[in-house]
């Protein structure tokens, strides 16, 4: 699937590039893309080190266990298997909390650790398990109590009321997150 997406994007880019007369820009774009990957990885390295380190401290101190006990009723509905085995539940709790607090750069490390824990119970390691898919799709709905980035961009654009969109954003992201869970679980049950 990932290979297909890569192929489709490259092919589209080439066709449109030639059509638009942007063919010369494509050569530079290839190099920029590869160099950009290193930059993204570098900043990701820092974030992963910091948040996975802090997560380990909080886990040893028992804070994450308390957090996951708090969120358990909700998580049992969304991730029934993980709630049963207990594997990955703490990481998922941390991921959900980071999303809610709007700490986007902490949410990714927590989610990746959760994927690793869920992978332990994945019968076929080269294909995603139902709960891994639910976790990934849920994270694309980006439920956040305080969308700080969005507010900053609206303020920078000179909006007199940057907060006006807060409640609609909450409604849409909660509905979309619910849809993500229902959709992925319905399909997962059929397979």
């Amino acid at each position: 699937m990932l290979g297909k997406i890569y192929g489709i994007i490259c092919l589209l880019a080439l066709l449109f590039g030639i059509w638009n007369g942007n063919a010369a820009a494509l050569g530079g774009a290839v190099i920029d893309g590869a160099a950009g990957a290193v930059q993204v990885t570098l900043s990701l390295c820092g974030m992963m080190c910091l948040w996975c380190g802090m997560m380990e401290v909080l886990r040893e101190a028992g804070a994450i266990r308390r957090l996951s006990r708090l969120l358990r009723p909700l998580l049992r509905l969304i991730f029934p298997r993980a709630a049963q085995t207990g594997e990955g539940l703490e990481e998922i709790s941390a991921n959900v909390s980071a999303n809610l607090l709007g700490i986007g750069n902490a949410a990714t490390p927590m989610a990746l650790r959760a994927m690793e824990q869920l992978q332990k119970h994945n019968p076929k390691p080269d294909r995603a398990s139902a709960e891994q898919i639910t976790l990934a799709v849920l994270n694309t709905a980006s439920v956040s109590l305080i969308p700080a980035n969005l507010l900053a961009l609206r303020r920078a654009a000179g909006s007199p009321q940057p907060y006006a969109i807060m409640v609609p954003v909450w409604i849409v992201s909660v509905v979309c997150a619910a849809l993500a869970v229902v959709l992925t679980r319905l399909i997962g049950r059929g397979k």
Binding site: A29, V40, I103, V143, L150
Partner: protein, 174 residues
């Protein structure tokens, strides 16, 4: 006020961890470096995937495809209740955080952050994420190659998010 709380959330977690290290009886600093090492390994494992993905996306951005497809879809978008100014944002959002942030900023400066299109764009920007990037990174970090129904579901949710945002803005800001 809310932005202050949000800005403080991250430092607060760091301070909490610092306090645990200071007061705790176990060797919490060792726990930190152990966890950090695990995180570092995961991040490094992602470089090959990111290299392929970001090269493809960089090509797509340079090709001018987004502007062209947006031009084609403009009449259709208006007909189904989605302001056509949103199209560059909607077409870049699934693939690239930086490109969609640029499209969003450009849109706000052209139509105004509190115009109907500006409000719709804000709600969509705040409640969606870079679908392709998220799913690719999550799956390849643990060596998953077959993503099964992850992409179809994520795109369906995103499509719903677009229509629902425009619909909600229409009644909310009427």
């Amino acid at each position: 006020m809310l932005e202050t709380i949000s800005a403080l959330a991250m430092p607060m977690v760091a301070v909490l961890v610092g306090l645990i290290m200071m007061i705790g009886k176990k060797d919490y600093f060792a726990a930190f470096t152990r966890g950090a090492m695990e995180g570092l390994k995961t991040a490094v494992r992602l470089l090959p995937t990111l290299c392929a993905l970001l090269t493809a996306i960089s090509l797509l951005n340079a090709s001018g495809a987004v502007e062209m497809i947006a031009g084609w879809l403009a009449p259709a978008a208006g007909a189904i209740g989605v302001p056509q100014e949103l199209l560059p944002l909607l077409l870049t959002r699934p693939f690239s955080g930086s490109a969609s942030t640029a499209a969003f900023t450009d849109l706000l400066s052209r139509v105004g952050p509190d115009s109907f299109a500006g409000l719709c764009a804000s709600v969509i920007f705040g409640s969606s994420d870079t679908v392709v990037y998220v799913i690719t990174v999550y799956c390849s970090s643990v060596g998953i190659r077959r993503t099964r129904w992850a992409f179809p579901c994520a795109f369906a949710v995103m499509l719903f998010c677009i229509f629902f945002s425009c619909f909600l803005c229409r009644i909310w800001f009427a």
